[in-house]
Amino acid sequence: MATTKKKKALPSPEEVRAEIISKYPPKVARKRAKQIVTPGEGQEGCAPEIMANVRTIPGILTMRGCTYAGCKGVILGPTRDIVNITHGPIGCGFYSWLTRRNQTRPASPEHPNYMPYCFSTDMQDEDIIFGGEKKLRAAVQEAFDLFHPQAIAIFSTCPVGLIGDDVHAIAKEMKEKLGINVFAFSCEGYKGVSQSAGHHIANNQIFKHVVGTDDTPPAGKFKITMLGEYNIGGDAFEIERILDKCGITLVATFSGNSTYDQFARAHTADLCTVMCHRSINYVADMLEQKYGIPWIKVNFIGAKATAKSLRRIAQYFGDKALIEKVEAVIAEEMPAVDAVAAEVAPRTTGKTAMLFVGGSRAHHYQDLFSEMGMKTLSAGYEFAHRDDYEGRSVIPTIKVDADSRNIEEIEVVPDEKRFKPRKTEAEIKALMAEGFPYKDYEGMMAQMEKTSLVIDDLNQYEAEKLIEIYKPDVFCAGIKEKFSVQKLGIPMKQLHSYDSGGPYAGFQGAINFYREIDRLVNSKVWGYMQAPWQKNPELSATYVWE
């Protein structure tokens, strides 16, 4: 019999919640109690209600960032050929300069790539007092004169909204003057409650100002878009490789490894696939309403999830050759994946993980962990909404609060010229009858164990508590959480930036991830934390110098 240490019985999720919130002032405790749930609490097989997308309590050490970060950093950050000018004091532009590990691959050395550059109006006190419009106008002109890009985007920071600079009017004026596309984002940091508002503002403007402006159809029989994929650590390259191998044409990615032209032609695709439901599901809806392109949720994180997603795409097109090709690709790719999974399994099986990140990754990465035999004890999103936890069926019941109301919702009607339903209602129904998940997402909780803990907008104190109680083998979050977790001797994997790793998407990505987690959870370093004299402090040595 193996000699395993007897583990102390873990407290119930309810007990853990009670312990966590006991430290808080009463008002804070009441609010946090609604943001900590266990899937087992749900009625009749449904996920329980979780409070999400609400304000973070001031003073709480939150993981969240701001609307500007979501707009400029996340959504527009990965697009290489737009000159992105931050209108504001220097900081916002500086911090969003090359820090997200978005990779990009221009077609040639002559093709534009502005991602290594940071553009800012560097507002000074006189601009705050007298208004920054003049400086912004001049900055757009200088950017045009220097770089001659095909598009310039303007991003508003906090003070811009307060002093009332009309960034949209300036964009319009400069668009007419320069003859290139110039558009602006009212993505002041204080809007909304998290980055999520910034994603929405970014996507809305791209939809309004860029999508549908170029009708040139790309070559290819099976044309799709990939929405909500940001090419961290090269994920998009791996997904592109697989799609290409299957003979599927990727018209546009929003926005990993993307270009302006891809956005402009996105409406020529015949299917939209959604990776990160949180950051972009509304764009998928709008593309369907305006152009008639159906969408499905996919997940290319995890080898099995990748295979499933490819099969769904093939099922949609219903082409026998494509279905066979997809099966052939899966059959070709999986042996290498299975071999590495089997290799690491003895060292990873039975280990535990916690994931607190993003609006989709805390869900997606559970697939990869389960492929390694690892169990997710607790998970939660940083900026997701209820539907990302509970599934899309709750959307009609979500109350729109003041913070969401000030984020623009675009009214979309079918485009007179370009609306063309790719499938008839009957065809969609037939597909759904076969199990095709048209416009469906069941959320994170459906996949989680009944006794796990699901926590929205986790903060540093709660993370520490969870680690103290559960002692997971690996904890996943972002850079700000990285070292407070590791000081506790728990390996920490960044799932925003992947530390310096990746890709983790697709088949190759799964292999990379298995090896990375194997390295982390089995690293020798965690055994070095105590010096020999700390392990055996007694002065019982018999060595004598005499």
Binding site: K23, V28, P58, G59, I60, T62, M63, G65, C66, T67, I85, P89, I90, G91, C92, F94, Y95, W97, L98, P109, P112, N113, P116, Y117, C118, S120, T121, D122, M123, Q124, D125, D127, R137, A138, A139, E142, L146, T157, C158, P159, L162, E188, G189, Y190, V193, S194, Q460, Y461, E464, G478, I479, K480, K482, F483, S484, K487, L488, G489, M529, Q530
Partner: protein, 456 residues
């Protein structure tokens, strides 16, 4: 080419900054606040500011960087952030239990005009600040100055809130280290100790931003200047303020507030600046410099002479913060190297004058549009042998195929700055080792086989 769009020809820009050589005030205030023991920095603004500063400092130090935010929403931006800050103060003292909350403002709360002392006072009256605990603050409007200004403002805030003269001199010398690395702060203390001078050094991030891995997470590490010491700074015999940009304001306030005389020195980076620091410390403390320090100095001079052949005449481009650049340029001149291009985004006319005094032939620019884009253009026009600057320089270094020595903030891709100082004689030796290493690595890479040499 990564920076493929940078033209060699310099066109005048008045509005657009490209690839900045500075960031905004609040991050400096946050870093400085970590130099107080038991202090939780608090950002009064939108969540993103705090998230960005924490991320940047974390990437630079690879250490926990815990700071809180007032989490402004649209409502607080319209009605003011008072209720957010009150709520934050209550939550912070209940959940995290720091001794000090050091509040800094942001462009948002500055534009609104929130009055931090008034709000902190209200918090105290409402019983949200436990006895013996403090809420201090400084104003850090992001649209004035740079990250260095923010650092300076927070150090000034420490003096403003804490330092007091009781009339009894404590026999100590205050050292305001400026925005340097935790390793540098530790080195300054070591040098003072070797001279048997009792010092109060603040802020002091050593032991905070370069902590050990032990399996225990201390939200408030053992390092940092204590509140008691910063209070007692008002009783010291004198203050040595290192760096005009980062330390002088606080030192002058100590003088006017507590009648502690001050001397503003350059950062002791390099031979001459360290000489001036040691000499000044000797004079204000009325002590002698021990042989052990003279020995370290002699080792540095020895190293300079050993490798002079490889530093002589080499052209260098530098980008960074004023206090660092002044001393670095002086050091390079000491080595018979030639600073060719010098850029800082931090404004200050005096900076350009100082650099011109040290190296009259250098191109120099400070303030708005003094950015890495301009530096890149200058290097395209007049190539150099070495770049000294932060990690962002690696893009230019790669495109232009010029060796890079990392110095300054932020360094995101190499270790060392946390643990090994560049101030003092030992620090200068480390800096020189890096410079010589970079130059000779390049020589070894590029030399044809017949001149590839074993002994250099």
């Amino acid at each position: 080419m990564l920076l493929r769009h940078t033209p060699a020809e310099v066109a005048d820009r008045k509005a657009l900054t490209v690839n900045p050589a500075k960031t905004c005030q609040p991050i400096g205030a946050m870093y400085a606040a970590f130099g107080i023991k038991g202090c939780l920095p608090h950002s009064h603004g939108s969540q993103g500011c705090c998230a960005y500063h924490r991320s940047a400092l974390t990437r630079h130090y690879k250490e926990p960087v815990s700071a809180t935010t007032s989490s402004f929403t649209e409502g607080s931006s319209v009605f003011g952030g008072q209720s957010n800050l009150l709520s934050a103060i209550e939550t912070i003292f209940t959940v995290y239990e720091p001794d000090v909350i050091a509040v800094h403002t942001t462009c948002l709360s500055e534009t609104i005009g929130d009055d931090i002392p008034q709000i902190a006072d209200k918090a105290r009256k409402e019983g949200k600040v436990p006895d013996g605990k403090y809420v201090i603050h400084c104003n850090t409007p992001s649209y004035v100055g740079s990250h260095v200004t923010g650092f300076s403002n927070m150090v000034r805030g420490m003096v403003h809130y804490f330092s007091e003269g009781t009339g009894h001199r404590n026999g100590k010398i205050n050292i305001l280290p400026g925005w340097v690395e935790p390793s540098d702060m530790e080195e300054l203390r070591r040098l003072a100790k070797m001279m048997e001078v009792k010092t109060i050094l603040f802020p002091d991030t050593s032991g905070v931003m370069n902590g050990p891995l032990t399996g225990e997470y201390k939200m408030f590490p053992d390092g940092g200047a204590t509140v008691a010491d910063i209070k007692d700074a008002g009783n010291s015999m004198g203050t040595l303020a290192l760096g005009e940009w980062a330390s002088a304001d606080a030192a002058r306030l100590l003088d006017t507030k507590c009648k502690v005389p001050c001397k503003v020195l350059d950062l002791p980076i390099g031979l001459a600046a360290t000489d001036r620091f040691i000499d000044a410390l000797r004079l204000v403390a009325g002590t002698v410099v021990p042989d052990s320090i003279a020995f370290e100095r002699g080792q540095l001079v020895d190293l300079i002479s050993d490798y002079h052949q490889w530093t002589y005449g080499k052209k260098v481009a530098l980008v960074g913060d004023p206090d660092q650049l002044i001393s670095l340029c002086e050091f390079l001149v000491t080595l018979d190297m030639k600073p060719a291009h010098v850029i800082t985004g931090t404004p200050g006319k005096r900076f350009e004058e100082r650099i011109k005094e040290i190296c009259p032939e250098a191109n120099v620019k400070a303030g708005q549009q003094a950015d890495m884009f301009l530096l890149h253009q200058w290097m395209l026009g007049e190539p150099v042998d070495l770049i000294i600057g932060n990690t962002y320089c690696k893009y230019m270094a790669r495109d232009l195929d010029i060796p890079l020595v990392r110095h300054g903030f932020p360094i995101l891709d190499r270790p060392g700055h946390q643990y090994f100082p560049t101030v003092g004689y030992k620090g200068a030796m480390r800096l020189l080792e890096s410079i010589i290493g970079a130059i000779l690595d390049r020589k070894d890479r590029d030399d044809p086989e017949e001149t590839f040499e074993l002994v250099i």
